[in-house]
Amino acid sequence: MTFGTTLALLVGLLVGLPVVAHLLRRGKTVEVEFPPAHLVPAAVVTSDKRSRIEDRALLALRCLTILLLAVLGATPFVKCSHLSVDRAAGASVALALVIDDSQSMQAVGRGNVRSRFEQAKAGALQLLDSAREGDAIAVVGAGSHARLLLNATTNIDNARQVIAELEVSDRSTDLGSAVALARAALKELPHTDKRVALFSDQHDKPAPEGTPPLWLPLPSLAAPIGNCGIAEAVRAGNEVAVVVGCTGEDAATNQRIELRLDDIEGDLVQERVLEPRAQTQRLSFTKVSSELSSTLVVRLVNSDGIERDNVAIVSQETTGLTIGVVADRERTSAATGGAPVIEQAFEALDPNVAVKPLTQIPDTAEQLQHYAGLVVDDPRGFSPEARSALEQWITRGGVILGLLGPSSVSAELAASSEPLARPGVQWELNPSVQLDVSSLGFLGGDAASLTELRQVGRVRLDAADLPGTVIRGKWADGVPFLFERTLGLGTVLTAGLPTAFDVSELAIRPGFLALLDLVCDYARSRSGPKRTSVGTPWTFPAQVEVVPEGGASVLKSLQRTALASAAPEARLDPGTKQQIVPTLTGVYRLTVDGRPEQRAVTLDPQELFHKPEVAEGDDDRAAASNEPRNAVDASPYWALVVLALFAAELAYRALRGRLHAS
């Protein structure tokens, strides 16, 4: 609070003046001329009548007027509930609206009619109402995976339409990526005043610092709302395992979960009581009769902040994701021993991912079909048989991450780095060059951890791109660091650094974990594991008939996106692909090339209980960034109210005078 605000608000203390004046006036009756005074009998006036404060309505009006004058003096420091874009010297503004459409935004607080998401949309539309010609608007969805819904445009109507059509989902929150996307969208714009407005409940790690700084127009969205939700319900034989997340003890207290047949109103099979604690808890319904072959439904009994996540259809147990890792165990393991750092990283990322160490790439595609993804660290090239097997496997949907290093450039006879890179890549000793972190924005907030990376050298990929390659990351001098290439249904990722600790620090940076996470996501979406988290896209080669299980409401959650092939020279299937992004949890039945399959979309349990984390110094940063931009000059409105009060006082006095006269 500034000195000016304090001073203005201190004016409010003058509210005591009219009180004192009325108190002083108390007991001092006004002397009135009255010629026939001698005809008036003197009456005993009691002390309570003397001490009674007169004209209480007038006193209230005067006190209110002074208080409003104090507020008027404090304006425009006083925040107004209506959001608007404050602009310096009338200059145009480049504004990125980051709207969280994750599951936790469905929560409706007590005494509130609108959900967090509806409040966020309304706030964003209010901001757009104050946008002017020349302002550039970008819209980013902060539900995982973060998406650039609208690239920066000066067409305000487009932005308004995108926000109006945005629907809440069951995605988890991905603030880091969303903010990075928003900053990247504004980066090239010529505007001097750039802002990133975040409408989120912040159920995620704090967004990384950077420019432009974050602006939280509606910090109230982060207010806690009690909720319990079902993240996952899986049946394995006679057991149904349910993962439930709660925001706090209060929400979990006296909460019960029921297992019912067919529907939420179906026959009750079993019932469990939740432990009164926050975070996730796993509950099991055992001895479920195997004869119950119909659909099973689990339901949380007590209503809470989000009603939708209180019901879930039980899915059949499915196999998880298997990733094969080819790495030199001696060079890539920590000095303290243990598994190679890549394997440890996968285990840390997702316990459901099965990591299988491989000594070398198998020679046949059949041997690779068990793997959804492969990570190859500093390979000494691939034999012709291995290359053929890899290409077949990739075109069928495999995902491979190749981390090229000094060994990759000294390939053995007849071996080649294809399909990771064109043969003839060069190793360059260059310890001083740094990664261009801004080019790795798709890794989210963890990309920042790759700054000041120490390495002895790098593989130059600038002449190693195969047809269809897209550069996803660069070094500061413009040399490519990361390639991505689509081959059939699969994806090839090639990085110019290995994980060996004697070569670089890449493996111990969080950005590397983000890269591995990306591999998992790709593997899930392309190879099609039976159970995916919400928001993970499914990619299919041809038209797919999708039949959701659980009603029409689930069907609406499927967002089909026809993607033109990014690889015009792809050797297989150059036609149109189809990507399906399930945005709501549930069980889906799909028919892929005539083969029926069932997929379960689960909720990220973190989303259910994650609370906003405030990084050190965030309070000051939020205060500094929010106040001047969130404030609306309410002076005219306050002034009108003060005038109205003055008029009310005059009217009251006139009325009183008339009453006395009559």
């Binding site: 009756t29 006004v30 002397e31 009135v32 001329e33 009255f34 010629p35 026939p36 005074a37 001698h38 005809l39 008036v40 009998p41 003197a42 009456a43 005993v44 006036v45 009548k49 003397r50 007169e54 005078g657 008339r658 006395h660 006269a661 009559s662």
Partner: protein, 317 residues
């Protein structure tokens, strides 16, 4: 209170307002009780020796073979004697009143004068209290109206009236009353315009005695609306015009007592006047002066068994 000037308020200019008020009434020549020479035919009677032969009705003689004398109404010069209370209390006007009581009394006096002038009557004007109060001897014609208006316009109530000066002493009241009685001939109408507040106790009985010798007396009690209704609330501190009489009271408690006192004062004047064929008219400065004037003229007519006092809100007592 600054009494330098009369608060004429909405009643100014007096000349025009007085003409408006008087024009609102039907007025004309009032008839004399004396029959004889005149213009307006009244009746016949048998001729008696000594009658003026010019009054002999020859047509009646031819038709009826009787000597009949024609009788006519004679127009008399009934005198209007105005006595106006100019004590300090008459200068009072409340915030919402149209004008002061003295201004209202002046309006009534001027309107009465105009009516009297139109009827050919003479007018006298005298004052109770006041400074620079110019009395008028019997005067008639258009000049009378101008003189009365000028007298009101020149009136300057005293600045430093003491309580004793503000309230008329018995002696000064009787002295003024004697002057009025001297000027009022038989058949005169004596009109007192006052709030009756600052008059001595014997004023009612003394003034009522002027009703002898076929003179009519009318007392017009002019009050401010605040005085008539006592609309105060809560604890009030009331002071008289001079400020020497101060009373602090609870208005809710004192209201009934005050109104009773006011009614007793009215009753005292009414009963005193009634015994001498006099009348009391009560009005406030908010009342329509035309109606007040009509009431005064009705009361001044010597009608036996008429109402003794009239309040202008329609109640007659």
């Amino acid at each position: 209170m600054n009494l330098q000037l009369i608060n004429w308020g909405a009643l100014a200019p007096l000349r025009l307002r007085a003409k408006e008020v008087s024009s609102g009434l039907y007025f004309g020549h009032h008839r004399s009780q004396h029959r004889g020479a005149g213009i307006e035919f009244d009746s016949h009677r048998d001729y008696v020796p000594g009658d003026d032969l010019r009054r002999l009705d020859y047509r009646a003689l031819v038709r009826h073979e009787r000597l009949l004398v024609r009788q006519f109404e004679t127009e008399t010069d009934r005198r209007l004697c105005l006595l106006v209370d100019a004590t300090r209390s008459m200068a009072y006007s409340s915030a919402k009143a149209k004008a002061s009581k003295l201004a209202y009394a002046g309006l009534l006096a001027a309107a009465l004068t105009r009516i009297a002038v139109a009827s050919g009557d003479l007018i006298t004007l005298d004052w109770l209290g006041g400074e620079n109060a110019t009395g008028l001897a019997a005067i008639g014609g258009k000049l009378a109206f101008e003189r009365v208006v000028e007298a009101f316009e020149q009136l300057r109530p005293k600045e430093d009236d003491s309580e004793a000066d503000a309230r008329l002493t018995t002696e000064s009241f009787e002295r003024r009353l004697y002057a009025v009685a001297k000027a009022a001939r038989r058949g005169s109408v004596i009109v007192l315009l006052s709030d009756l507040v600052d008059l001595p106790d014997i004023a009612a009985s003394e003034f009522a005695t002027l009703g002898n010798r076929q003179r009519s007396t009318v007392v017009v009690r002019v009050l401010d609306p605040v005085e008539a209704h006592f609309p105060f609330r809560g604890v009030v501190r009331l002071k008289s015009s001079t400020g020497q009489h101060v009373v602090e009271t609870d208005a809710a408690v004192a209201r009934s007592g005050y109104l009773d006192g006011l009614a007793q004062l009215s009753d005292k004047w009414r009963s005193a006047l009634l015994s001498h064929n006099g009348r009391l008219v009560e009005c406030t400065t908010d009342d329509d002066p035309v109606e007040v004037l009509r009431a005064i003229l009705d009361m001044s007519a010597p009608v036996i068994n008429s109402t003794a006092a009239t309040r202008l809100d329609g109640q007659k007592s």
